[in-house]
């Protein structure tokens, strides 16, 4: 076992993990932050997307020990109490989800895009979301939501 410490959504946490413990397991099972989902567990679907030191990463393809000392944010850290984050609000407004399973990863990926590109085009959004799979929506409303959410975040 190894001890690991990191900041998650602004809170300092630490725990004992095995070397093989995935970051997503540490988030979901040790920290009970179950908003981050495991979809494919093979680095393809992006449901496990979180931010590490401000950049989007797939938490199923990182070891918890690799996040030692890092600043991690998850979907739980976005809303301000009952007030949705602008990207969450855009997904609600534009019906950017159906079953909702991919949504946490979509939103974490989208907020990373919005930080780099305050006014992404449809092409920009579709290219960026290559690592996030949705099996319900056909992406159309997700793309609209991300474009609107990025503008709202940077308004």
């Amino acid at each position: 076992m190894a001890s690991v410490s990191m900041t998650i959504n602004g809170k300092q946490v630490s725990g004992e993990v095995e070397g093989r413990t995935l970051l997503v397991e540490f988030l979901r099972e040790h920290q009970r932050l179950t908003g981050t989902h495991v979809g494919c567990d093979t680095t393809q679907c992006g449901a496990c997307t979180i931010h590490m030191n401000g950049e989007a990463v797939k938490s199923c393809t990182m070891l918890a020990v690799q996040a030692e000392g890092a600043d991690v944010s998850t979907i739980e850290g976005l809303a301000n109490g009952d007030e949705l984050h602008p990207m969450q609000e855009a997904f609600r407004e534009h019906h950017g989800l159906q079953c909702g399973f991919c949504t946490p990863g979509m939103i974490m990926s989208a907020t990373a895009l919005a930080k780099r590109n305050p006014s992404p085009s449809e092409d920009d959004v579709r290219h960026w979301l290559e690592g996030n799979l949705c099996r319900c929506t056909g992406y159309h409303n997700i793309v609209k939501a991300v474009m609107a959410g990025a503008r709202a975040m940077n308004a």
């Binding site: 190894a2 095995e18 070397g19 093989r20 413990t21 995935l22 567990d41 093979t42 680095t43 393809q44 992006g46 997307t49 950049e55 989007a56 990463v57 797939k58 393809t61 990182m62 070891l63 020990v65 690799q66 030692e68 990926s109 990373a112 895009l113 960026w128 290559e130 690592g131 996030n132």
Partner: protein, 264 residues
């Protein structure tokens, strides 16, 4: 997840010692290939030695007509580097098309080149630009580096520290990506260099290779039409559910012409 002993390296020398001291140690860079491989038990090392965070393996510098990139530099860093975009824009384009944004934030050039997946993009650039792979022990010419499918000239435990890419006159990389994984079904890197034209093909064969007949034609006449009539044999090319060997052979010609056109 497969159980292994995780060790974080404090330096390149420490990493080499830790791998050498393990029963069956392996190096981990960004982990974008290794972690899925461990989950599936396609690799079962006793120890995983993490070099991804080593600061002296990060960074990009341009000097003396070459771009030097630290082996643990991420694809995202290469894709967005003003130095790379200025000196070898084709290399930034190549890096920007690997995987997806999250993979590019973790995956590294050195990891990709050391793994030598037949469908990886970077081997095309290493061969196409005639780069030099620098390790903790020696310098290896790009032309001698890729020896077979997932095989390289690296010795057991040898660590890539940086790759030096000579700045070409012109270069372009064009790939036909698998629409799901973005791995190259076929990718062609074309460069006009001080030593003539180089054409490197990735994705099509067991490992990246140079298309010498195309190089000769382009040395005589650097235009897409110079490649008319040159057909690539499908013998020995990859075939899978995504593309037959014959289809890949045809794509080499198409991608090569597009790359020449993109050189401007």
């Amino acid at each position: 997840m497969y159980e292994f002993n995780y060790q974080k390296a404090g330096s390149v020398a420490d990493a080499a010692a830790k791998v050498a001291g393990a029963d069956d140690g392996t190096l981990m860079a960004g982990g974008m290939t290794l972690i899925p491989t461990l989950k599936q038990r396609l690799a079962m090392p006793s120890d995983v030695v993490d070099i991804g965070q080593l600061a002296d393996l990060q960074g990009i510098s341009v000097a003396g007509g070459k771009v030097s990139i630290g082996s643990m530099t991420t694809h995202d860093t290469v894709a967005n580097s003003a130095d790379v975009k200025g000196a070898i824009p084709a290399l930034a384009v190549l890096a920007s098309g690997i995987g997806d944004p999250m993979v590019r934030n973790r995956g590294t050039m050195g990891g990709s080149v050391a793994n030598n997946d037949p469908a990886a993009d970077y081997p095309g650039a290493v061969l196409g630009l005639g780069a030099t792979v620098v390790t903790d022990k020696r310098e290896i010419a790009g032309d001698a580096f890729f020896t077979g499918m997932f095989e390289t000239a690296l010795d057991e435990g040898e660590i890539i520290t940086r790759i030096d890419f000579p700045v070409p006159t012109k270069a372009a990389y064009t790939k036909f990506p698998n629409p799901a994984s973005r791995y190259a079904i076929v990718g062609v890197f074309v460069a006009q260099t001080a030593d003539g034209v180089r054409v490197a093909v990735t994705g099509a064969g067991g490992t990246a290779f140079r298309a010498t007949e195309m190089e000769a034609a382009l040395n005589a006449n650097f235009s897409p039409s110079a490649l008319d009539g040159i057909s690539v044999s499908s013998d020995g090319l990859n075939k899978d559910i995504h593309a037959s060997a014959e289809y890949r052979a045809h794509l080499i010609g198409v991608m090569a012409k597009r790359a020449v056109a993109a050189c401007g």
